[in-house]
């Protein structure tokens, strides 16, 4: 058992994966000597060498495209995209190549690649550094997409994603990198990667989040409890495939559901959750499924990002509104 930040847990998880399998490579901008701008790969190049921890030229399409070739040659590349807003130069490689190779090759080609993306806002950054692009990847058949929300999951999930024979977009809540600290039991058997999880049981309303919004949901549950409302919180963890079994089971008990993400609400993950839950649990619902998320505007300048991001008040307001029906 070790107490770690989320950043440290990812670092430890990467290290473990590299020790376990010498085909695992880390590549990206500044991941070597510097250890990444967030220090997630700190010390890895020193210990595993420049052949396995690769400082790449400044070109995201190049990074992901060469990772495809490395994967075809039997390696398991773990690619770091420096910030969410810089994944788009690689978008073609991810959507047209990474996502489709298995399908096109009738299963003959595997692309066991992990694309790590620090995502979300709340760090006071300049533009393009606070985005939540997950829906773009969830919308792409052939990709799997997961988001960790705490150190223990980060440690386990990064290893599981690396073990996956399918390409995985691995979203890391950058705002929690150095703030979320928790005990990580390195020897504990990990929960299955493709499962969502109830992180706080409750009976009156279900709150669903992932990545950075899980802690917002937990805070909302604490405040709601003081007002006599029992909120169940679920961390989706996996966005593609979506595991809605615990969500549906929960909604059948609570009759109310609010989904929270930083991404724009329109066509976000919340829209898919709402549609599927409505299809499966229509007769259990006491209120429409509500979504709380970023507005349908570009991410705003940092000084007003708090007005854009779903916060405690907006989540609690949505909870209240589900009781108004």
């Amino acid at each position: 058992m070790t107490t770690m930040t989320l950043a440290k847990a990812l670092n430890a998880g990467l290290r473990k994966a590299m020790e376990d399998d010498d085909k695992v490579l880390v590549m990206g901008e500044d991941v070597g000597t510097l250890g990444g701008v967030f220090r997630i790969t700190d010390g890895l190049q020193k210990d595993f060498g420049e052949d396995r921890v690769i400082d790449t030229p400044l070109a995201e399409s190049g990074i992901v495209g060469t990772a495809v070739g490395l994967a075809m040659r039997g390696y398991r590349p773990v690619v770091e995209i420096q910030f969410d807003g810089f994944v788009y130069p690689a978008y073609d490689q991810i959507v047209c190549q990474v996502a489709k190779l298995h399908f096109r090759s009738q299963g003959r080609v595997h692309v066991p690649m992990v694309i790590r993306i620090p995502f979300g806002g709340g760090i006071g950054a300049v533009e393009h550094h606070s985005e939540s692009p997950e829906a773009q990847f969830v919308h792409t058949p052939g990709l799997k997409v997961v988001a960790c929300s705490n150190p223990a999951d980060a440690y386990a999930m990064i290893q599981q994603a690396i073990h996956s024979d399918d390409p995985v977009v691995f979203l890391e809540p950058k705002r929690l990198y150095h703030s979320a600290k928790a005990d990580v039991d390195e020897s504990a058997p990990p929960a299955p990667l493709w499962q969502s999880r109830v992180v706080r049981p409750g009976s009156d309303v279900t709150l669903v989040g992932y990545g950075p919004t899980v802690s917002t949901c937990l805070d909302a549950a604490t405040v709601a409890a003081e007002e006599g409302r029992s909120v169940e919180v679920i961390d989706l963890r996996t966005l593609s495939p979506l595991d809605l079994v615990p969500v549906q089971e929960s909604v059948r008990r609570t009759g109310r559901l609010v989904v929270v993400h930083e991404a724009h609400v329109t066509l976000g993950v919340g829209a898919e959750v709402a549609a599927r839950v409505t299809e499966e649990c229509f007769h259990s619902l006491e209120a429409p499924v509500l979504r709380v998320g970023g507005y349908d505007t570009p991410y705003p300048p940092a000084r007003i990002e708090d007005a854009f991001l779903p916060d405690l008040d907006r989540v609690l307001d949505a909870v209240d509104r589900t009781f108004a029906y």
């Binding site: 510097l34 701008v37 030229p57 533009e127 705003p300 300048p301 854009f308 307001d317």
Partner: protein
């Protein structure tokens, strides 16, 4: 090694030539292709510009340290490259900057306080690009080089090249860094510019670093030589020499205006500061290198030249220093006073014509804010 069949690798080709007109010691040297006569006023002007933009940069860095800015990208060490390139422009020329072009912004008449907004987090670029012929800063590496090329294609279609009218013929400048030279967008910009013979100058400040990655990670050959492969000329200039940068840029811009097509100018310089205020360069580079480059300081050499030739005295230097103090003081004062934007405005700014959905979100946002005011 020389390959018996393919011959020598290009990196073994002759040493890169560096255009220089003023040595680090402040010695005026001459160059067969790029020589110019500079008036005393021009030289003093360069000095003043560089001192002021260095001050601007130091002040902004201090503002970040005091929590007034979220971030700052320092130009320290790159003053000559930026002033040389900026002063070679004509009013009608158009510039596409990165996020570090504070010195060029200065030359384009953008108020230094306006540069702070993006870094303070109150806006994403507050000047009017069309008023200053200076596009907004571009943070996504390399994207602006294509915009510059497209803008230059527009200039061509407007017939604003090769007319011989010095007030009409227009050039476009694409700024980018050594790291950016690896991006697909930048290489595509080269292809387009060459294909259409577009009036664009690719001005690369090779400051030796892309965050922690040294130049060698991006290229085995001097960057300016890449231009040859794309089919247009490239030249490396001492980017710490404002005279040489000015002279080379003036020639390249003139080429573009005359309709002779693109040029690649590699300004060889050094990022003396951190990548940005969040970066810690001691993790990846030796202070020896920084010390070595200190000896090539762009401002000191101009001052030495001015003094040695009786073109500037203590009084002049003190006057510029005084002007820098005034600028610094104004930046501090006006930075504090920069207003936060109104959150409700983000809904009106997305489109030319606001959509009904965004109008509804804006109304809901207003109601939401009002609900707190009612409660008090």
């Amino acid at each position: 090694m020389t390959d018996p069949v393919f011959g020598p690798a290009p990196e073994q080709a002759a040493d890169p030539e560096l255009v220089q007109l003023l040595t680090p010691e402040g010695e005026r040297v001459h160059h067969p292709a790029f020589d110019l006569d500079f008036s005393a006023d021009q030289l003093r002007g360069f000095y003043r510009d560089m001192v002021l933009v260095r001050r601007l940069d130091i002040e902004a860095t201090a503002l970040q340290r005091h929590g007034e800015l979220g971030l700052w990208a320092q130009l320290l060490g790159q003053e000559a490259a930026q002033i040389g390139a900026g002063r070679a422009l004509r009013p009608q020329d158009f510039v596409f900057p990165t996020y570090r072009e504070h010195g060029v912004a200065w030359c384009r008449g953008v108020d230094p306080v306006q540069l702070l907004g993006l870094f303070r987090g109150v806006d994403q670029g507050s000047w009017d690009p069309n008023e200053h012929n200076f596009a907004l800063y571009t943070i996504v590496i390399g994207a602006q080089t294509l915009h510059a090329t497209g803008y230059a294609m527009g200039v061509q279609r407007d017939g604003a090249v090769g007319t011989g009218d010095p007030d009409r013929d227009t050039a476009v400048v694409a700024h980018f860094g050594d790291g950016a030279s690896s991006q697909g967008d930048v290489n595509e910009a080269f292809v387009f510019a060459a294909s259409y013979n577009a009036p664009v100058v690719f001005f690369c400040q090779n400051n030796q670093w892309a965050i922690s990655e040294p130049f060698e990670r991006q290229s085995r050959i001097p960057l300016y030589r890449r231009a040859h492969g794309f089919g247009f000329p490239g030249v490396r200039v001492d980017g710490n020499d404002v005279l040489a940068t000015y002279a080379v840029m003036q020639a390249a811009l003139q080429r573009a205006r005359e309709g002779q097509g693109p040029t690649f100018v590699e300004a060889y310089t050094y990022r003396m500061g951190a990548h940005t205020t969040t970066d810690d360069p001691t993790r990846y580079r030796l202070s020896n290198d920084v010390e070595r480059w200190k000896l090539k300081d762009p401002i000191a050499r101009v001052e030495a030249y001015l003094r040695r030739n009786g073109l500037a005295d203590d009084a002049f230097v003190a006057e510029v220093a005084q002007e820098a103090d005034v600028l610094g003081e104004r930046m501090r004062r006006e930075c504090h006073a920069l207003p936060d934007p109104a959150p409700r405005d983000i809904f009106s700014r997305v489109h030319v014509e606001q959509t009904p959905e965004l109008a509804a979100q804006q109304a809901a946002y207003d109601a939401w804010v009002a609900s707190f005011e009612e409660v008090g």
